[in-house]
């Protein structure tokens, strides 16, 4: 209880602001609306006049590209949902009907399927950008964490979506992944039965997976909104890793960034469309065109390409629980990065040693991706263990150690000086960017 005595003369009277109408930079109808619902001014301040560092390269177009992917996934997903039937007896045939009978159904399904893959291509490049240019450091830690949450949700959504066509890969992928929870001591078995709604993956499982598939997809939209709000508070990082100070360091978002991003999006979409039209099943598995059969597991079950590195990690450990822990923590490691990297210098452009370990890390990622596709025997298992060892060493040992021991290169004082140095050849970066 406060000790304020409300009856005394010393009561302080303060004005209240329950109505904030006013202050719009717009006139007429736009101003009238904006004074009551300030979305137009938010758009103006945050997207037209917004200042961004002038040194941004094409890696900074990936955020917009991801947004486009998400929007198209939702549009194609909702339209697929108008024809898809989430029951174990009808799902497979309804997808075949979409492919053969529904007007443009083939196009919509191929778009949805391949967009999921391109979404992951973009998100991996986006994460690489953050890693290379130190975008996870003060003050952007929360953005980085929100990003990792989005990444986990993307994986959940893609996994759930992949079960929907109810082919052999759908069924056995669902079985193996849900069984990961059975590794949890004591309660694991009950959790798995609870997830299934049955004693095996079946009709109830498919029905709820359908609901969760689009529910989590819409959840991603929610977290993306937070991600973007946070971005507009802390501002964009840039290849120099130096914060902008005045207008010599920045350009306004429109038209400079918007036109550059638009160009990048169109190139991305062009590649996507070529891919979807000419090799729509390249990244899929033929087994998924065989209806689900609970009695037979296909000889080679392999997850989608974007899960392969973690799958290799899972299989490299001959113990069930430890395998699952290693797999989940390999991704969660990313979340610790802001606290493991103690270097004040953001950009790898000025960190010659760490830069090399990042490239090794990227190689490790592709090595594990390759191993995830290979059978779990002989030399592949040994290589997976080496890959796994580097993965964890990179985060837990190399990152903190290098960040303490390394002497960064001499740095310019500002972004415009950075651009100057680049022109004079004092800083080496890839020319296309």
């Amino acid at each position: 209880m406060t000790e304020k005595n409300f009856n005394s003369d010393s009561e302080i009277i303060k004005p209240v602001h329950t109505s904030k109408v006013g202050g719009s930079p717009f006139k007429g109808v736009a101003g009238w609306i904006d004074n009551r619902l300030p979305i137009l001014r938010i758009f103006k301040y945050e997207y037209l006049d917004f200042q961004v560092p002038k040194s941004l390269n094409y890696f900074w177009s990936l955020g917009g590209i991801l947004m486009v992917c998400l929007i198209f996934l939702i549009i194609t997903g909702v339209t697929l949902g108008m024809h898809y039937k989430p029951s174990s007896s009808e799902a497979f045939n309804s997808v075949e009907k979409i492919m053969r009978d529904v007007n443009f159904g083939w196009l919509i399904r191929y778009a949805h399927m391949n967009l999921a893959s391109f979404f992951f291509i973009a998100v991996y490049l986006h994460i690489f950008r953050g890693l290379y240019y130190g975008s996870y450091k003060e003050p952007r830690q929360l953005m980085w964490l929100l990003g990792i949450i989005i990444f986990f949700m993307m994986m959940a959504t893609a996994f759930l979506g992949y079960t929907l066509p109810w082919g052999q890969m759908s069924y056995w992928g669902a079985t193996v992944i849900t069984n990961l929870f059975s590794a949890i001591p004591v309660v694991g078995k009950f959790i798995v039965t609870w997830l299934w709604g049955d004693y095996a993956v079946g009709d109830s499982t498919l029905n709820r997976f359908y609901v969760l598939h689009w529910l989590i997809a819409f959840g991603i939209v929610g977290i993306v909104v937070f991600h973007v709000i946070a971005l507009h508070i802390v501002g964009s990082n840039n290849p120099s890793g130096i914060e902008p100070v005045d207008t010599r360091d920045t350009v306004s978002f429109a038209p400079y960034t918007t036109s550059k991003d638009l160009f990048a999006m169109l190139v991305f979409l062009l590649i996507f469309v070529l891919f979807m039209m000419y090799i729509p099943n390249y990244l899929g598995h033929p087994d998924n065109y065989i209806p689900a059969n609970p009695l037979v597991t296909p000889a080679h079950i392999v997850p989608e390409w974007y899960f392969l590195p973690y799958y290799a990690i899972l299989r490299s450990i001959p113990n069930k629980l430890l395998g699952v822990i290693a797999m989940v923590s390999s991704i969660a490691m990313l979340g610790l990065l802001p606290w493991l990297d103690l270097s004040k210098v953001r950009s790898s452009v000025f960190r010659p040693i760490w830069k090399q370990f990042i490239f090794l890390f990227v190689l490790d990622f592709f090595l594990l991706m390759y191993l995830g596709k290979m059978p779990p025997e002989g030399v592949y298992v040994i290589l997976s263990r080496i890959g796994l060892a580097y993965w964890f060493m990179f985060f837990l040992i190399i990152t903190p150690l290098v960040s303490i021991m390394e002497t960064p290169l001499q740095m310019p004082n500002s972004i415009h000086e950075y651009e100057d140095w680049k022109k004079k050849g004092k800083i080496k970066t890839l020319k296309i960017f």
Binding site: I177, S182, G197, Y199, G202, P294, T297, R315, K320, P375
Partner: protein, 175 residues
């Protein structure tokens, strides 16, 4: 603490009690509201009702196997040959990851009844592959012997034996 009327120590204790009681009741209320939402996902009684099936064994020849679906899972019913039975019985329990004598895993040595679900992550193992004369799981390479015991690979446990009984010499009831 200056105001004697409202903040005497005794009144404070009573307030604390009210706070705790309100909190406890709120927790119970929230729990009671959430439980149906969580429990709706568990198998319902119609799923549980399908829990037992009868299988006729008379058509299975020695060395052959039949697979039936029980609770959405494959059940292997294998009529073992004499060599297979001997092989399963002579295994030293010290060599096993999940030690269990063959005699504990069968009702009649000839008939081996197993849930055909790999104890690693749930794939269906295939018979006749792998170096122990039993099953091999294609997913991550677990190997089971002719008693369905785990011998190699990431799976932690033997293939599960379901509850079953012989209702006659040639008929079993699973579940």
């Amino acid at each position: 603490m200056s105001n004697k009327n409202n903040n005497s120590p005794e009144k404070k204790n009573r307030r604390d009690f009210i706070t705790v009681a309100t909190g406890a009741l709120a927790a119970v209320g929230v729990g009671a509201a959430i439980w149906p939402i969580i429990n709706q996902m568990n198998p319902d009684s119609s799923v549980k009702a399908l829990a037992s099936i009868e299988v006729d064994l008379s058509s299975i020849k020695e060395g052959q196997e039949t697979v039936v679906l029980w609770r959405g899972k494959p059940v292997f019913i294998r009529r073992r040959t004499n060599e297979q039975i001997l092989e399963a019985q002579k295994v030293d329990l010290k060599d096993l990851k999940d030690p269990e004598p063959d005699s504990k895993r069968v009702k009649k040595a000839e008939w081996l009844v197993l849930i055909g679900v790999c104890t690693h992550l749930g794939c269906v193992p295939t018979f006749g592959k792998g170096e122990y004369g039993g099953w091999f799981c294609p997913c991550h390479g677990s190997v089971y012997d002719v008693s369905g015991r785990i011998r190699k690979g990431p799976a932690p446990l033997n293939l599960e034996v379901p509850n079953y009984e012989f209702v006659s010499d040639t008929k079993i009831k699973i579940g």
